[in-house]
């Protein structure tokens, strides 16, 4: 099952290395990781999409993350009401006669053309994973030359700091 986990971590050098190393050595299966600064410059926020077999596997991911000294808080937000977005850059083969079509496809996705070359256009799309994938599927017939996706970044809707408190990983905490 796919789960979306967010973590706040100290913005120290090497923290990303600690986390990815942990995932690798514990054989945790990761779909994507994103990381970036938060409103507090000494704290970064990470969003992981992990693939786990069962609840126990998920518990281990969260508990092992929590053991890291540089990890401040961890939470599985999959079942919460969340805002989850990723950004994709899609370079599509676009002969002049197809450019109109491609723009028309892009419009309902609110994707924008960010670069135009002689034989291609580059689209930028933002949204949840399904939306991004839907656009990619539609563009495939034209020929995708390059694709870059950021992976999901997410947080709880209307979340205030106070309700991002108790991690759910254990029934006794």
């Amino acid at each position: 099952m796919k789960r979306t986990i967010i973590a706040t971590v100290n913005n120290n050098s090497g923290v990303m290395n600690r986390i990815t190393g942990l995932f690798a050595r514990r054989q945790f299966n990761i779909d994507s990781i994103t990381v970036g600064m938060t409103e507090n410059p000494s704290v970064s926020r990470m969003t992981f999409v992990v693939n786990v077999d069962n609840q126990r596997g998920l518990d281990q991911v969260i508990k092992q993350l929590n053991k890291q000294v540089d990890v401040l808080k961890v939470r599985d937000i999959t079942d919460d009401s969340i805002v989850a977005r990723e950004l994709a850059l899609i370079k599509v083969v676009a002969a002049p006669q197809h450019r109109g079509e491609i723009s028309a496809l892009a419009e309902p996705f609110r994707a924008s053309v960010v670069d135009v070359g002689r034989e291609s256009v580059t689209l930028q799309v933002t949204g949840d994973q399904q939306k991004v994938e839907a656009l990619i599927d539609l563009l495939k017939p034209y020929g995708i030359k390059e694709l870059a996706r950021t992976g999901i970044t997410a947080f709880k809707r209307g979340a205030t700091k106070s309700d991002f408190e108790t991690p759910k990983y254990s029934i006794i905490n």
């Binding site: 290395n17 126990r56 000294v69 401040l72 990983y169 254990s170 029934i171 006794i172």
Partner: protein, 575 residues
């Protein structure tokens, strides 16, 4: 412990808030952390630190290989119950302590390791004796730091000691670049530790304790599994009260030996691959398994699909990640073993009735005790362990490497007291036993320390005999010499059709002469008749001693759970 009050080998502590070098800060901080001995080895990148050691007279033990230093720090930590400190240089100095750090990580021993590093402007340039020690040790430390500013150093050291010693103990490494050690800054050690990402749960949840207590009342066949967490928490007294008050049968993991007295009638012995029949069958048949400070290692559980099939599992551990990791847990209790046991002892539950269960256990103990054949005129390693137990009255600190001799020591030396047993459990490190005995002797200068070693493991760190010679340290080395890598040989015999690939030594050094080269008294013994007398003489001898005991070469460790088998499928349970 205020500044200027504690003497450091005749030298006073320096005042706070004065300018000093990073190296000086390090030594001042170590003194404030009550460090009474450092194990280490100097080199290019930690010259400033060693200069400071020279000038302050800080007690430093010079190993002859960094691996010796780090294992000594581990032995010290295990027996002293506080962090062992190890200082080595960059590059090869640092990579030579990697084995010891990994060993300390998996066995939860508190260490503070300070590695030298090339100067900050040279980091990342493949400089002379540069290694990415932070990268290398990231997965095998509880946490690690690299000092980038001299004024960060006091905070880092304080945090390192805090992280190493609290919660589930473990090794913490500080990588100290050469220029930071030489740079000057203001020293302030009077700060509190502020680590929002590190808040171990010490006090367990009351409701969980009640659940556990109720489960004991309801149980018909309970068993307690005692692990090293009890020793780390200094909770032996609380454990004794709990077990004797509730009249619960108790078995131990390898590393938990001594947490509960080995000679007590409620003690069932060690469990696991070479555990006692009764201990293993107790886990297999139990309806309630209370694990305290143990982590369900595969050598303990055997095949997980057969593990404790009928038991409700209660698991007390300070590390929440251990709960449910390998074994599904019904009553998780996150917290310090001492606190948990104290709360359990306060809880007034109806005591359970385990008469039938105890009768069954007693029958097993009667029917399937540990056994070995005493025949011919060869020296039996098991008998040797019994003799060591008899001659030391069970009061010695015993250290071992890994393998057959380790299992025999665990089976036949009845550990009656806590903190008497130093062994490499999780990592199974050859070469651990001897240097860890040196560290143990520093932690317990008035106690007898016996290093029970295999002839193979001893050769991995034998150079540390220099320390015994130099300091006249009365460590007693007892070689269980079967001229082989005994456990490898045993597995090749049992599972590889006796194809003894590289496990039997075609030649061996003369260990007695080797000892004599270090001015250490040596004996060779090969018959059972003279064993006890020589052992007594050796143990009574004032200085260091090496006993080369030529034991039966073909002897195997039994009983045994073969790989992939469960506790109920033990082999070699009877002669």
């Amino acid at each position: 412990m205020g500044p200027k009050t504690k003497e450091m080998q005749g030298r006073e502590l320096k005042d706070e808030n004065q300018e000093m070098t990073g190296a000086s800060m390090l030594i001042q901080a170590l003194a404030r952390e009550d460090v009474d001995v450092i194990f280490g080895y100097p080199g290019g990148a930690n010259l400033s630190t060693y200069d400071e050691i020279y000038r302050t007279g800080m007690h430093h033990v010079l190993a002859r290989h960094e691996q010796g230093a780090v294992h000594a720090a581990e032995g010290y930590a295990r027996v002293a119950g506080k962090p062992g400190v190890c200082i080595v240089t960059s590059g090869p100095g640092a990579t030579n302590v990697v084995t010891g750090i990994a060993d300390a990580m998996i066995d939860s021993l508190p260490l503070v390791v300070i590695t030298g590093q090339v100067a900050t402007n040279a980091i990342g340039t493949d400089a002379f004796q540069e290694a990415d020690v932070i990268g290398v040790t990231m997965p095998i430390t509880k946490h690690n730091f690299q000092a980038r500013e001299v004024e960060d150093l006091p905070r880092m050291i304080k945090e390192a000691f805090h992280i190493a010693a609290t919660g589930r103990p473990g090794p913490v490494l500080i990588d100290l670049p050469k220029d930071i050690a030489a740079a000057s800054g203001f020293f302030n050690y009077n700060q509190s530790v502020d680590l929002p990402g590190y808040q171990p749960t010490v006090i367990p949840n009351k409701l969980q304790i009640k659940k556990l207590a109720d489960a004991v009342t309801e149980a018909k066949k309970p068993v307690v599994l005692t692990g090293a967490g009890i020793l780390h928490a200094h909770a032996s007294e609380e454990l004794f009260e709990y077990i004797t008050k509730q009249q619960l049968p108790a078995a131990s993991t390898l590393l938990g030996l001594g947490a509960f007295p080995g000679n007590h009638e409620l003690f069932l012995g060690m469990v696991g691959m070479h555990g006692t029949y009764t201990g293993n069958m107790a886990l297999h048949e139990a309806d309630l398994l209370i694990s305290i400070g143990a982590r369900f290692d595969d050598r303990v559980t055997g095949a997980l699909k057969h593990f404790a099939p009928n038991a409700k599992v209660a698991h007390i551990d300070i590390d929440p990640a251990e709960i449910g990791k390998n074994v599904e847990t019904h009553i998780p209790v996150v917290g310090d073993a001492k606190e948990a046991l104290r709360m359990l002892n306060e809880y007034d539950g109806t005591p359970g009735d385990f008469t039938e269960w105890k009768k069954q256990l007693a029958e097993w103990q009667e029917e399937y005790p540990l056994w070995y054949r005493e025949e011919g005129d060869s020296l039996k390693p098991q008998r040797l362990m019994e003799m060591i137990y008899e001659e030391t009255k069970g009061e010695a600190v015993v250290t071992t490497d890994v393998g057959q001799h380790q299992m025999w020591a665990a089976q036949y030396y009845k550990f009656d007291n806590p903190d008497c047993w130093v062994t490499s459990g999780g990592l199974g490190t050859m070469g651990f036993g001897f240097p860890s005995a040196i560290g143990a002797q520093f932690a317990a200068p008035d106690r007898q320390v016996v290093a029970v070693l295999g002839d193979a493991g001893f050769q991995m760190t034998a150079q540390e005999m220099s320390i015994l010679q130099e300091l006249n340290l009365p460590v007693k080395i007892i070689l269980v010499n079967n001229a082989a890598l005994g456990m490898v040989r045993q597995w090749q015999e049992l599972f590889y059709d006796q194809r003894y690939s590289n496990s039997i030594f075609p030649i061996q050094p003369d260990f007695v002469k080797m000892a004599e080269a270090y001015n250490i008294k040596g004996w060779k013994i090969d018959n059972p008749e003279e064993m006890q007398a020589v052992l007594r003489e050796a143990l009574d001898y004032e200085g260091p001693v090496l006993l080369d005991c030529r034991v039966e070469k073909e002897e195997n460790v039994y009983p045994m759970i073969a790989p992939g088998k469960g506790h109920h499928e033990m082999e070699g349970i009877k002669p």
